[in-house]
Symmetry: C2
């Protein structure tokens, strides 16, 4: 429960309920209180603040009506899980995964976007941090600061500290089959930043091929560059290489391990075709976003495309924001030699965006085996949720095709009735308090969806009872 | 002294001196050992490792000959202050101040760039971190991690956490006369990143006016954008506004508090002219880089240009990397309302590049008064060095005009002999073991220097005896 550290001004001229309302509203907006967090009961807060309960009631009423919080019968008041409040700030948000992009003026009312009756949010961005070893993280941090590490306060290398790059290189080799020297790794504060850097390396005004649907966040970032984005159709194996060949592009952005949002794992044949395409010209590259490759439930782990690349064609991008915690603003990219040279020549003056202290903490967290242990625990958690969700969804087989079930943190439900409309399905679910997401959100360009109405159900941010309850409600809504 | 944590492999087949050599070389390259740091004596290291002293001698000899370390008579072995080793990694390096940009392949020999006879490096980038309250920083970090702040591991707001933005806004108001709401502040991981973000906000292919000489790092960054850089002449008050008016540019980049490298403080008249220029068209802006405004020795502190702007024309950029520590990868920019709107509309999907934990540490460091105290101590330190340097430079008045003496961390010496050449003066100083820097390094475009040979003497990274000794040597070289 939220630790209330509110101080009321009894003689400020501002009414007490307003002070409480503003304090909590600001805590929500400022990200101190986040989606799903329980507020103190009105009685507890009134007692704590030594004021009348009706004053707290009034403040909560205001927050309710504006959509900042919601009341759950017999359970109390909770902060709404509204990503749009301030963009992925809620606990389930994550920076380098897909996020619906909404620009909202600070101070704007959120009531329209925060229906207070959403009880189960199947956001594909949801993460489960319950297994995160806060204690270990604290211990490592303390030890690092306790040593006489004055040099940690100096500026590090532009590419990131060598120790961390070595650790990442070993980790990538062992777990993802990525072959790279530490020299090829560039560490940066998040995928967005690394893509900005990549813009400088690949050059301006280049064409980039993307699948459709695709990871909308990457699309928005490329669009904000001076890039010409070419949409390439995809089939059940991913981007179609003959269609790609018809486009004048320098690079193709793909997610071979687990395409977002379709969940497709690109088979080896398609991978080789893509590599062949890239090999046909010196200045052709593949951008491999391996955003959630850690989570795979069926079959052997599939090595990264990068590992099959013998010609220096793949730019591999990975992040610790998704597998450790969104606040860990550490991503990395692996540059092929040709682009590494260009980076060194043209971008090496950009200072590192990650503090050496944070790099060192992460390095020890991985090096000393805590990362592997955490990952195993998290995989187990997600696997259990994943199996539960699949099991609960069994009755849906009569009306939906379920796919994307081998990896990642969401499932894909495609409606078998050709007449069904996505918005309609989403609306019906919302009426029962369940938030599901449409695949159409991930469409780019003008082409309409080439398949039946399709829903995305993420399960990372919900616990098991919530998944079961949510799917029961969804059944009432859709079956 | 460096804490040697070397472990020798006695049966690895690799010779012991090679292991020692490689270990120390990697520590230097990796930034663990940094410029100016003293190595253990050969006897101490031999004793510690339980090997013969001649083995250590041999390893040190190799490092000496490759330019990684230097021997100072009667004082021992020191890591070379070679910024080029891995770009500003040495203790004196700093990310958001002027850095000579050299791209060097990792693993390349550095012997040419590291003459082992440089004893006194008057780098304008030198910083003195001796007063940095490491203990306080550790205490704040521990307290933050000890509280049950799980939400700190969630993703923060794209602009930076509201608490920190409030604190920065108050600080800017009180110390720099900057008028802004927390909503206008965008926090980011370093100036370089913020300029990359600004590129997205200002638009592509725009013209940017810069003074000449100017801050080369900003020049290189703008050049790496799709920007057309227009060089505008400057007089003794800074950028000449009538010359600026002749250029087709959207923004002018200036450092009104303390121009780098000339040290000019822009008078109020010129500031008003610049604001008037910007006011003449809706889409004209001034980029105010207030990089070292904290350090002023004469006269009243001069408020930022931003504070005089009533029309929303100034983009103010500041950093904590220079005033706290280079590793603190936290800079900020203040956007005028028109550009804030564009940022919210077009760039709000870029995730924050600074972890919430780091933001919170900085917030408490400032909020609880530690920053102010540290700043006062550092100001005192720099003032003492500054006065000492001026005093030691008194005999130079016969041959040099000394300027830029009111603020910042370097002085400017312009040679009165019209025949003198910068490289010659720098070479003569180097022969005496003194490294000074030429103003020409900060020239952009093709125009030659419009003044006599000019040297920059930074004093941040040297202690007082070093300043006195260095200037005595410089006197022998140049007078």
């Amino acid at each position: 429960m939220y630790d209330m550290n509110m101080e009321l001004q009894f003689h400020s001229g501002k009414r007490l309920y307003e002070q409480i309302y503003e304090h909590i509203r600001d805590e929500i907006r400022g990200g101190k209180l986040f989606g799903g967090e329980r507020l103190p009961s009105t009685r507890a807060l009134a007692e704590y603040l030594q004021i009348s309960r009706s004053t707290v009631d009034y403040a909560y009423g205001q927050l309710l009506s504006e959509g900042y919080i919601e009341a759950r019968p017999c359970r109390g008041y909770f902060v709404c899980r509204v990503e749009e409040l301030s963009m992925g700030k809620n606990g389930a948000g994550e920076p380098d995964g897909p996020v619906e992009v909404v620009s909202l003026e600070e101070g704007g009312s959120v009531s329209e976007r925060a229906p207070s009756d959403i009880l189960y949010d199947f956001s594909p961005n949801g993460l489960d941090m319950s297994a995160f070893p806060f204690g270990v993280w604290k211990k490592i941090t303390k030890n690092i600061l306790n040593e006489s590490n004055r040099e940690l306060f100096a500026l590090g290398e532009p590419q990131g500290d060598l120790d961390l790059r070595r650790t990442i290189s070993r980790y990538l080799h062992a777990s993802r089959g990525v072959e790279c020297a530490p020299e090829q790794i560039v560490v940066g504060a998040g995928n967005d930043y690394l893509l900005m850097l990549l813009e400088k390396i690949l050059g301006r005004h280049v064409g980039i091929a993307m699948e459709n649907p695709t990871y909308k966040r990457a699309f928005n970032i490329f669009r904000s560059f001076s890039y010409r984005i070419e949409i390439v159709e995809m089939d059940e194996s991913g981007m179609e290489v003959d269609k790609l060949r018809a486009k004048d592009v320098k690079a193709a952005y793909v997610m071979p391990s687990h395409q977002f949002p379709t969940g497709i794992t690109m088979p080896i044949g398609r991978r080789m075709e893509l590599l062949k395409w890239a090999g046909e010209e010196e200045e052709r590259f593949l951008i491999e976003d391996d955003y959630d490759s850690e989570f795979r439930y069926k079959g052997k782990p599939i090595p990264a495309l990068q590992g099959a690349d013998t010609m220096g064609k793949v730019i591999y991008i990975g992040t610790f924001s998704k597998v450790i915690a969104p606040a860990i603003r550490i991503s990395f990219m692996v540059l092929p030699p040709r682009l590494l040279k260009r980076y060194r020549e043209e971008c090496y003056f950009y200072s590192s965006t990650v503090s050496r202290i944070d790099q060192r903490i992460l390095n020890e967290f991985i090096r000393d085996g805590y990362f592997e242990r955490y990952l195993n625990k998290t995989r187990k958690l997600y696997r259990e949720k994943h199996e539960l969700l699949l099991q609960e969804l069994a009755p849906f087989a009569e009306r939906f095709k379920i796919s994307g079930e081998n990896a990642g943190l969401h499932l894909v439900l495609t409606c078998l009735d050709s007449g069904a409309r996505e918005e309609e399905l989403i609306g019906k679910a919302a009426e029962r308090g369940v938030k599901v997401y449409g695949l159409s959100d991930a469409l780019v360009g003008d082409a309409p969806l080439q398949r039946g109405a399709t829903l995305l159900l993420g399960y990372g941010g919900l616990n098991k009872p919530e998944i079961s309850e949510g799917i029961q409600k969804l059944k009432q809504a859709l079956l």
